[in-house]
Structure formats: structure tokens, C-alpha cells
Amino acid sequence: MLRILAHILRTGIVTEPPPATDDATLEALGLELRRAIDARFGRSLALRFIDAGSCNGCELEVHALANPYYDLERFGVGFVASPRHADALLITGPVSRHMETALRRTWRAMPSPKFVIAAGQCACDGGEFGVSYASCGAVENVLPVDVKIPGCPPAPDDIIRGLLAALNLTAENPHIRVSRIG
């Protein structure tokens, strides 16, 4: 136990404001997300993640959101195990035909109002895989999409900015295309 405590003390706090590529101060971005969530979702945004056919690269970056550098949860954004508890669906991958029904059913299981966020090039436009006998391509070919976060894969800070866009705050951000804010 002492060794663990010593290690923790030695490490210190590495958590940083989500790095932005624009000039806005990093901390402001995080706090803005926090405020937006407070106002719209009663202090928390519950995401249900679904991999609809990704190569698992996007999934690794979604995982990275939980590492102590980004620590997404401090902004009130968390991942939930059931679509019934979710405000938004975060989808990666092109939608493989074999996942099409599972994706639709997951979406249907969510209470309204619900957001759909397509994360990654594949989810945005089919990416490297496109439409084929095996792939439906972009998520919007299957479900209405509110926010697209491009990138192959998008870096964690891109995903955080995309979540902001989902909250209709940075629609002017050129990197994120907001298709429809529901």
C-alpha cells in the first residue's frame, strides 16, 4: 500500500485541460463543456458507445478520453452501459451490414430526445471502407446523425470538441460538422 501511495505522490497530477488546436485557452474549453452540460442535461451527459464496424482504432481513442490527461468524467460526461440510460449515442466505424440491426435497436432503446454523434472518418463518410456488400458506409445511411467528428481516428481532443458541438456551442468550429441539432 505504501508503495502505491508513494507512486501516486511521485506521479502527481497530470490531468490537463483538453488540448485544443485553436487559440481558446484549454481550460476554458473544459469549463465551457461543463457549463453546457449543467444547463442542458442536469449536470451530466450520458453517452452510450457503440462500435458499428470500426477497425478498433477509433475505439482506442475513445478509451483514451478516460486517461488522466483528459479525464472526461470531470466535465460530467460519462459512458453508460445501457442505451436506456443514455442521452447520446457515440458511434464509430462504418456501419457493417452485420451490425445494422443491432445499431438500430440500440438507438431505438434510447429515450428521446437523443443525439447521435458519428466519431471517425468511417462513421462520417464511410472512410476507407465505404459502401459495399458488407458495409452500409456512413452512420447517416442508417440513423439520423447530429454531429460528425472526422479524423482517422479523431484524437481525444477532437472528440471532446465534437461533444461540445453536440451541445450546440461550437457550431462555428470548422473541423466539426454539425448536421442537425435536435
Partner: protein, 479 residues
């Protein structure tokens, strides 16, 4: 019947007249590539599964995609095909140029005939394809009596994206891009295997500096994934401390990837003939300093993970894969090594730059989850040493060689030790210098059947940690 060989993979390919089947056998680092042909109308081959259980799913995959018939295959059920295309339509059969008559919406795969287990008090637990956490989709069917698992049956194929058909007609650069996305966590491994195959088909070798950089990239991929997985395994049994620490180290590592190589997951860093870009000025010093820093950080951390009784309680003796099973299933990588199969291409069939390096033999004998963690920790340490040596002796010169157009029908076979184990790639060129056939063989083909075996007798709540310690790629086998 198996002559002490490890069965390392098979794939089919077809032209207008004939179906051809390839199979790779390994004997202590020597590969034997076998092929057989049949006229397209019959396409019957004898199944290898009765002799090599590892062949089971790859034969079923070839049957679904090509329409090959495997006589004496013990399992007639479809594998890669769910309900997106009809039974008599085979996406890679030469007669299937257009798209299949797809149903407007793909129905759920509801009528897959899972094996049944009968008995007093035996019940089924279906899980997936959508899981509670952030993982890839697949279906698991447990049969349990009380807590212990009597049988686990996997149903994969959910992320089948048609990679093999997408590859047809691509140019070499396009294939390298696709290969990097066969399994995102193995972007370097698959891209390297594909580039190696294409380079062999074209009769060239990448320049020494490019090969050394590829080695560096492959080791970086290994370190990142092991760090992530060691933490995730600890997290699955409630030891969040280790998870946070390794996630922190992994993040720093990935940031350096972006800075030095242009991509956090190292995608598209390898191109046919070499690497996409050279090390930036001053990067070598930074990388060496990183290695030293990581070594300083992981030593005390790995010591704690190695010697933390509550962790041992959950990991020691959990999910044991016997040496016999690991051998029968042809497991390589950390899964095989943890059960005593010490095979490593970098050492047993070395290719540049590893032919000039000393790759340590990392093995364990327990075969349990704890052993898989120990092997991964040892591999992190070994990779750090290898990377230092690579940087130390980094050759100067070009980082790419032009890839001449391969002769019509030229074939190439790539073989690299990815972080998950032996990763293969098969490439055939057409008459115009484009890809006629690409098959990437991920080590996960053998990881998934191993998971079915090692979970037997374990309790259902231990499945997540067993699964994590094995960490097969779904995308890498669904293709």
C-alpha cells in the same frame, strides 16, 4: 499427422477457371507454403480441421467468401456470413462481380444454430453483439450451471467490412492504407506484413534505414498496446491504480508518436518500399530520453503489479490455457508465450532489422492471466532495449525505395511479429500491377478459439478479465 508443425493459416484465391488453396505450416521458424488447385466447378478440398483444429474458422471463412467445399469439415455452420447476403452468393467468387441482392435492411442474425448443452440446471447467457463497455462487437453464448462456465461459444463476424474484396484492384499505396486498418491496434504490424509481401512480389527490399524505422514503429506499437492492456486487465479486477498509471504512460507515448511520426496510432507510417517520413531532427534524442523515462517509471509500477496479493487473488490460476491447447491451436504472441510456446518470428525466423539484434526469449509456463500480464511486462522491457539498439545503430540513407511494377501474377508473402503475434499477409498482383488478392492473417484467428477453451470451468464473472488478458481483435478476423 501434423509432423510437429504449427498450422499457421490458410486462404483461397480464384481466377476464372480454378480455385487455389494455400496453407502455411511452421516448423521451428521454417515456413512451408502448400497449395492445391481444383477446377472452379468442383472446388472441393479435404478439410484440414480434423488434423489441425486451428483451421476450423479459416476454412469456414473461405467457404463463406469463396464457396469452397471442405470435405470432412466437422462444422457445417456458416461463420463470416450472417444475413447480409444469400447463402449461394460468395463475395470473392470470380462469378460474383456485382453486388448481391441485399435485403433493404440487414436482418439480425437470429437463426444461427448455436450448439446446445442439456442438463439439470444448465442455463444459457447470451451476451452481445453490443457490449456494456467500450469494446468491439461480437456475441458470446455461455452455458453455465451456477457460476462455472460449462461452455462458451463465440459468434463473430459482426464487423465484417469486406476488406478482402476492397483490396482487389488497389494500387500498392492503397493496399498499405487498407492494411493499416485491418485492426487499428495493429496498424504497423499489418501494414508491414502487407508492404513486405508487396516488396517481395516486386523483388525489392526497403532501404536499411526504412527497415530500422519499421522496427522502431513496430516496437512502439507493442509497448503502447501492452501498456494499455496491462492497465485494463488490472482495472477489470478493480485495481484502478495500475490502470490510471499505464493509461498515463500510454498517452504520453502516443503523443510522441504524433510528434515524431505524424500519427498517434502510427497509421500510414509505412508505405510500400519504406516509411512515409524520416525521423525529425532531434527526435532520436527525445526518443532515447523517453525510453529511459519509461524504464524508470515502469520498474516500480511493474513491481507493484507483480507483487500485490489482492491482484494475485484474481489473476493467478484464472483462465489457464494449457501448453497442449496453445500448441494445438497454434497460438503465438503473448498468449502462446504465457503458456510456454516461445515462438517469436523476430528471433526464430529473423528479418531485418531484427536479424542484427538480440531478441530475448520471453516465456512463462503457468498459462494463466497472471502469466499473460508477466509476459507483457517482460515484452515492454525487451522492446525498450530493442528500440535503444535500433536508434543506436540507425543506418543513414534513404527511407524509401521505389516499388517497381511487379510482374503479372507476381505473388508475395509477408511475415512479421506484430505485438499480438505472428502476422501474415498474402498478396497477388494482377496483370496491370494492381492487387488481385490480399489476405491478412491476424494472430487473433487463434486467440479466439483459445479463449473458448481457457474459460471452461472458470466462473462467469471472470470472463471479462480473461477476455481482456487475451484481447483478440474482432476486426482483424471479421475482415
Amino acid at each position: 499427422m501434423t509432423f510437429g508443425c504449427r498450422w499457421a493459416g490458410m486462404w483461397a484465391e480464384a481466377d476464372e477457371a480454378r480455385m487455389r488453396l494455400y496453407c502455411v505450416l511452421d516448423y521451428a521458424g521454417d515456413s512451408l507454403l502448400l497449395s492445391a488447385e481444383a477446377p472452379l466447378e468442383t472446388t472441393e478440398f479435404t478439410s484440414q480441421t480434423p488434423h489441425f483444429p486451428a483451421a476450423d474458422r479459416m476454412e469456414r471463412h473461405a467457404r463463406d467468401l469463396f464457396g469452397v467445399i471442405f470435405v470432412d469439415h466437422p462444422d457445417p455452420r456458416r461463420w463470416t456470413r450472417h444475413c447480409a447476403w444469400p447463402e449461394n452468393w460468395h463475395p470473392l467468387h470470380p462469378a460474383q462481380a456485382g453486388d448481391p441482392p441485399t435485403p433493404g435492411r440487414t436482418p439480425a442474425d437470429v437463426d444461427y444454430p448455436f450448439a446446445a448443452v442439456h442438463g439439470n440446471g444448465v442455463f444459457e447467457i447470451p451476451v452481445g453483439p453490443v457490449h456494456a463497455g467500450i469494446i468491439e462487437p461480437g456475441h458470446f453464448r455461455f452455458h453455465a450451471a451456477g457460476e462455472p462456465v460449462l461452455k462458451l461459444e463465440e459468434r463473430l463476424g459482426y464487423v465484417h467490412k469486406g476488406i478482402e474484396r476492397l483490396a482487389v484492384g488497389r494500387d500498392p499505396a492503397g493496399l498499405a492504407r487498407l492494411a493499416a486498418r485491418v485492426s487499428g491496434d495493429s496498424a504497423v504490424a499489418h501494414a508491414w506484413a502487407a508492404c513486405q509481401a508487396m516488396e517481395r512480389a516486386a523483388g525489392i527490399e526497403a532501404p536499411p534505414r526504412a527497415l530500422a524505422l519499421r522496427g522502431l514503429l513496430a516496437e512502439r506499437e507493442r509497448v503502447a498496446n501492452h501498456l494499455g492492456d496491462i492497465g485494463a486487465i488490472c482495472n477489470d479486477v478493480g485495481f484502478a491504480f495500475a490502470h490510471v498509471q499505464t493509461a498515463r504512460l500510454r498517452e504520453r507515448w502516443q503523443r510522441r508518436n504524433r510528434e515524431c511520426f505524424g500519427h498517434r496510432l502510427l497509421m500510414d507510417t509505412l508505405v510500400p518500399g519504406g516509411v512515409a517520413r524520416d525521423l525529425p531532427v532531434g527526435a532520436a534524442e527525445n526518443l532515447c530520453a523517453d525510453h529511459a523515462a519509461l524504464r524508470r517509471e515502469v520498474e516500480p509500477l511493474f513491481d507493484i503489479i507483480d507483487d500485490h496479493p489482492p491482484l494475485d487473488d484474481r489473476l493467478v490460476g484464472t483462465g489457464v490455457l494449457s501448453l497442449e491447447n496453445a500448441r494445438a491451436l497454434g497460438c503465438t504472441g503473448y498468449l502462446g508465450k504465457a503458456s510456454g510456446c516461445g515462438f517469436d518470428l523476430r528471433r526464430d525466423a529473423p528479418y531485418a532489422p531484427y536479424d542484427a539484434l538480440e531478441v530475448p526469449l520471453v516465456t512463462d509456463s503457468e498459462g494463466d492471466t497472471a502469466a499473460r500480464v508477466r509476459v507483457r511486462m517482460a515484452e515492454v522491457r525487451a522492446s525498450l532495449d530493442l528500440m535503444d539498439q535500433l536508434l543506436d545503430a540507425m543506418p543513414s540513407g534513404e527511407t524509401t525505395a521505389p516499388l517497381p511494377t511487379p510482374l503479372p501474377g507476381a505473388i508475395g508473402f509477408g511475415q512479421v511479429e506484430g505485438w499480438r503475434g505472428e502476422t501474415l499477409a498474402w498478396v497477388r498482383f494482377d496483370n496491370a500491377g494492381r492487387i488481385a488478392r490480399y489476405f491478412p492473417r491476424d494472430p487473433s484467428w487463434f486467440y479466439w478459439p483459445a479463449l473458448e477453451r481457457l474459460i471452461m470451468g472458470e466462473i462467469v464473472p471472470d470472463f471479462p478479465v480473461c477476455n481482456k488478458s487475451v484481447n483478440g481483435s474482432y476486426s482483424g478476423v471479421d475482415l
